[in-house]
């Protein structure tokens, strides 16, 4: 007789006000296998996993662990039933040490007092067993992203997780680090651990998974194995229609260098050099993509170009020959920069503001929106309505609080606002991260359109597919430096991956 699956989730349904997040979803995982959950943002993967981890209760349906009906009421009960989770946004306390983060929530051998020495010993054991080297006594904020992920995995292993959920674990890793991670994961499955792997990177999914379940709009739309399917088929199961994986790009003659970076060095939040002597030109009519693994100075570089972070002396940033090195964000924007920041809810939009207010964020001072000292709301509405229509931002009204829009629509809102400023340079960081495929297609086509009319575009992206699909030239950043600049035609995924790892 066959063993009962490690996990069975049967007929799970979960609704939120106005939204059917999971609609009769069934899903199981056997010990020793990697079962991938594939789907776009909003397809219901996270909700399903939060139900599994006890953060939500399903409206109906049942969960069985090892064949027994399980009641998972809280993260604690999930952990007690040996379910572990590595969240996409790491659940680590930056000011605590590795050992403290691991020990958090567990009873101590010494009662009231912590027993970090014992915890550290066990961490060393686990890290040796799985090749997850990390110093237990170091504070999290001092660690790299890859190391933090290792801590997350150690946390789960320390709790003897038999079932481990990994939510988008490769988003922040280099291809080589991804390979290392896969080695670790395979070792875990060999030891009998069941793994739920959540990703939308199709080639990784095909490489790692034993089985694949695809979700769309809260429903299961496909249940397959890598041998039975391919990328195109998976993409279509995810989106529900035919998908064009690469946009059309006409040839455009290069114009003058509109954005010029010379020897740009920048300190990061910790006071160490994060960007180290970067020089780069972006010409009118081209998209330069900056590829690289998160944390190699891209964010600091973008912030410096946008005037948000001071550059070290000797650096120079110019747009159309105007020196903006020390200009600050207002003057930089006045000089023709449009900025689509990496974290849209943190830097791009004010969540509590209405849609119209966010559309007005960068040009609210424009006299054309005023009558005397006061806002001319009629004109403002007209202007905002035009932008919303033009960029097909889906919103119930102009007065809707922005935070209640979907990620894709907020991103379109930001694009609408930024592109409307008739920029000479667009700086777009992770323009489609966390955005549904439809919106991503739209955003890509808008960027190409701007390129075609002579705007210089610098796009920072950790998504290699995006960079390869959109950029005319590709610069790879590693440890604060630009290690190589390759023309699109000469670029291969492998060469880029090597460069991203510093090779």
């Amino acid at each position: 007789m066959e063993h009962a699956p490690l996990l069975t989730m049967r007929n799970i349904t979960k609704t939120f006000p106005g939204v059917l997040a999971n609609d009769d979803v069934s899903f199981d995982v056997h010990a020793g296998e990697v079962h991938t959950l594939l789907g776009e943002n909003g397809a219901g993967k996270s909700t399903l996993m939060k139900i599994l981890f006890g953060l939500y209760q399903p409206d109906s349906g049942e969960i069985r662990l090892r064949g027994e009906v399980a009641s998972i009421t809280s993260p604690t009960s999930a952990i007690e039933q040996r379910v572990g989770m590595v969240h996409q946004h790491f659940m680590l306390v930056p000011t605590l040490t590795v050992a403290e983060n691991v020990a958090l929530g567990l009873p101590s051998n010494r009662g009231f007092r912590t027993d970090l020495d014992a915890v550290s010993e066990r961490i060393v054991e686990i890290s040796e067993q799985y090749g997850l080297s990390v110093d237990p006594s170091i504070e999290i904020w001092k660690l790299s992203v890859g190391e933090r992920q290792r801590v997350e995995i150690i946390k789960a292993l320390y709790r003897d997780a038999e079932l481990l959920v990994l939510d988008e674990p490769t988003a922040v890793l280099t291809p080589q680090e991804v390979d290392d991670l896969f080695v670790i994961l395979r070792q875990m499955t060999a030891n009998g651990t069941g793994i739920i792997f959540i990703s939308h990177k199709l080639h990784e999914v095909l490489e790692l998974s034993d089985r694949i379940t695809v979700l769309r709009n809260g429903k299961v739309t496909g249940d397959t194995t890598p041998s039975e399917t391919n990328r195109q088929q998976l993409a279509e199961m995810m989106v529900g229609r035919e998908v064009k994986l690469a946009p059309d790009k006409p040839h455009v003659d290069l114009g003058l260098a509109r954005l010029q970076l010379r020897d740009v060095s920048v300190k990061g939040d910790r006071g160490t050099i994060a960007v180290d002597g970067v020089s780069l030109d972006v010409h009118a009519g081209e998209i330069v993509g900056i590829a690289g693994v998160s944390g190699n100075g891209q964010r600091e570089l973008a912030e410096t170009i946008a005037g948000l972070r001071p550059a070290e002396s000797g650096s120079s940033v110019t747009i159309d020959d105007a020196d903006l090195t020390k200009a600050g964000p207002a003057r930089t924007r006045a000089a023709g920069l449009a900025y689509v920041p990496e974290e849209r809810m943190k830097d791009g939009a004010v969540g509590e503001f209405e849609v119209s207010e966010n559309l007005l964020l960068i040009n609210h001072g424009d006299p054309k929106f005023r009558r005397g000292p006061l806002f001319d709301f009629a004109k403002i509405r007209e202007h905002c309505q035009r932008l919303v229509d033009q960029f097909s931002v889906k919103t119930p009204s102009l007065d809707t609080p922005t935070s209640s829009l979907s990620g894709g629509n907020i991103q379109k809102l930001i694009m609408a606002r930024e592109l409307d400023s008739r920029p000479s340079v667009i700086l777009a960081a992770q323009p489609t991260r966390g955005v549904d495929i439809g919106a991503a297609e739209y955003i890509h086509s808008e960027l190409i359109e701007q390129r075609n009319v002579g705007v210089a575009i610098l796009m920072i992206s950790e998504d290699l597919d995006e960079v390869l699909g959109l950029a005319d030239r590709i610069a790879v950043m590693f440890e604060g430096r630009i290690v190589t600049v390759i023309d699109r035609e000469a670029a291969t995924r492998e060469a880029l991956g090597l460069a991203m790892a510093g090779g």
């Binding site: 659940m91 020990a103 958090l104 929530g105």
Partner: protein, 317 residues
């Protein structure tokens, strides 16, 4: 000026500063624990006033200092429950709720005082070591030692408790499971929650410890001064909150802040009594502690960062 720089005057000034700092220190240590868990309590002054009245009234009724302090603790605990319910469970804005607690404490302590006591009558003050019933004789020779005596031995038990609470608070925060939870919850409550640490429970306990200490601080104040009056604290609780920021959420630095505040105050009083500060400048001198605190912070502030989740209510959804 020269008459200030004699050993005896310097020692006496320092001893005064130590004693003066005690209520500030007790309240600020409590507030440190609360803020480390991510909860700001601006109502410390109100809790202190209620604790001060409770302690004072208890001593009038029973004559027992210990009971007075315990009543202060109990009152702090009771108000803490209300504050925790409002801020942790109802997610009320912390700064404002604190003002509410302050106003309530200010009014209610005065109301109780007027109804139950009326005339401010002195009580027996907290005894210093050498005047402790029974064991006082042991300490008498110690108090008479030069320099060390007045600095270290001429204090009441609450002074020692306050200063012992400094390493104790550090130990609690850094070496215990509870302290680790407090720090985690104040920094990244989502992470703590995901590991089964109850954010609400941790914050509740942190608030209760903090408000109990505020209650004790109030009782200590009234028993040390041996009196109660309308608005006895005169804003000590607010300054205690300020000292937490000053001390960058570290008990040792909070203590340094309380001592600095006490020392500046004691020094200006001493200088006035020695005519170093001319009489006409008394009010200017009274500004000194406030101004020096601000200046000290200007020099320190940019280098410290508070608990990331301070003042942010936590909810899972």
């Amino acid at each position: 000026m020269s008459q200030f720089f004699t050993v005896s005057v310097l020692v006496a000034t320092l001893a005064t500063a130590i004693k003066f700092a005690v209520p500030y220190l007790l309240a600020a240590l409590g507030e440190t624990i609360g803020q480390r868990s991510g909860v700001l309590n601006l109502g410390v002054d109100g809790i202190m006033l209620l604790g001060a009245f409770g302690g004072y009234y208890t001593v009038i009724q029973t004559g027992s200092h210990l009971q007075g302090i315990l009543v202060g603790l109990g009152i702090g605990l009771a108000i803490g429950i209300v504050y925790a319910y409002v801020t942790v469970f109802l997610h009320a804005q912390q700064g404002i709720s604190g003002i509410g607690i302050f106003l309530f404490g200010l009014g209610f302590s005065d109301l109780l005082f007027q109804e139950l006591v009326g005339t401010p009558k002195p009580i027996r003050p907290l005894p210093t070591l050498d005047k402790l019933p029974g064991v006082g004789g042991i300490f008498e020779p110690l108090v008479d030692i030069d320099i060390v005596g007045p600095l270290l031995f001429d204090h009441n038990l609450m002074t020692y408790m306050a200063f012992l609470l400094v390493p104790a608070t550090t130990w609690l925060l850094m070496k215990t499971t509870f302290g680790m939870n407090v720090r985690a919850v104040g920094e990244n409550p989502q992470a703590a929650d995901s590991l089964g640490v109850s954010v609400a429970k941790t914050r509740l306990i942190a608030i209760l410890i903090g408000s109990s200490l505020a209650g004790i601080a109030g009782a200590t104040l009234s028993l040390q001064l041996a009196i109660f009056q309308h608005n006895l604290t005169n804003g000590i609780g607010f300054i205690a909150v300020a000292l937490v920021y000053f001390g960058a959420w570290r008990p040792r630095w909070v203590m340094a802040g309380a001592l600095l505040y006490g020392l500046v105050t004691a020094t200006r009083i001493r200088w006035q009594s020695l005519d170093i500060i001319p009489q006409g400048a008394s009010d200017i001198a009274a500004m000194a502690p406030a101004i020096i605190t601000i200046l000290a912070l200007v020099l320190l502030a940019s280098r410290v960062r508070g608990p990331a989740a301070l003042t942010r209510p936590f909810s899972r959804h």
